[in-house]
Symmetry: C2
Subunit: 93 residues, 2 copies
């Protein structure tokens, strides 16, 4: 018997924390962002280019960091965002 895989057998899958940011695509109107910009300007704050999107924090169980990153990228693309109107980025927390 070699040591291969013993860590996974003893410790089980590891947990990895991520944040997925989902934003409306650059060339699309963002009515929520425009509304926020209007409120801020009425308060006297000089703002531009306000965009409102989603932030999703999650912990993924996986056998390795690479597997966790692949999983999060897949769910960000297929579940958490709508690729027609939104872009996503993944941050490791």
């Amino acid at each position: 018997m070699t040591g291969f895989g013993v860590g996974a057998i003893i410790f089980g899958p590891m947990r990895f924390k991520f944040r997925v940011i989902v934003m409306p695509k650059r060339d699309l109107l963002d009515p929520q962002g425009r509304a926020v910009a209007g409120v801020l300007r009425d308060m006297g704050v000089r703002v531009e280019d306000v965009r409102v999107g989603k932030s999703i924090n999650l912990i993924v169980e996986a056998e390795s960091e690479e597997e966790a990153e692949r999983t999060v990228d897949r769910i960000a693309r297929d579940v958490l965002s709508n690729p027609i109107i939104e872009d996503y980025t993944v941050q490791r927390l």
Copy 2:
């Protein structure tokens, strides 16, 4: 005449880009996060602690980075989040 303030007079205010992350407070239920977690588990993804919040990108005009940071902190607290049920963090982009 000294050089003091000449930069601001010539170049005007500077622009600073930030991201504000607004998340439901740790000890509050997050129905949207629970719904997402349910969908992911049905797909066979092992996830825990899924939390859904907002991400707001904005560009602020200010005379200095410190002024921009103070402004963003203030609007994150007073406008973008509800401090009773949400926490915020500010990232410089």
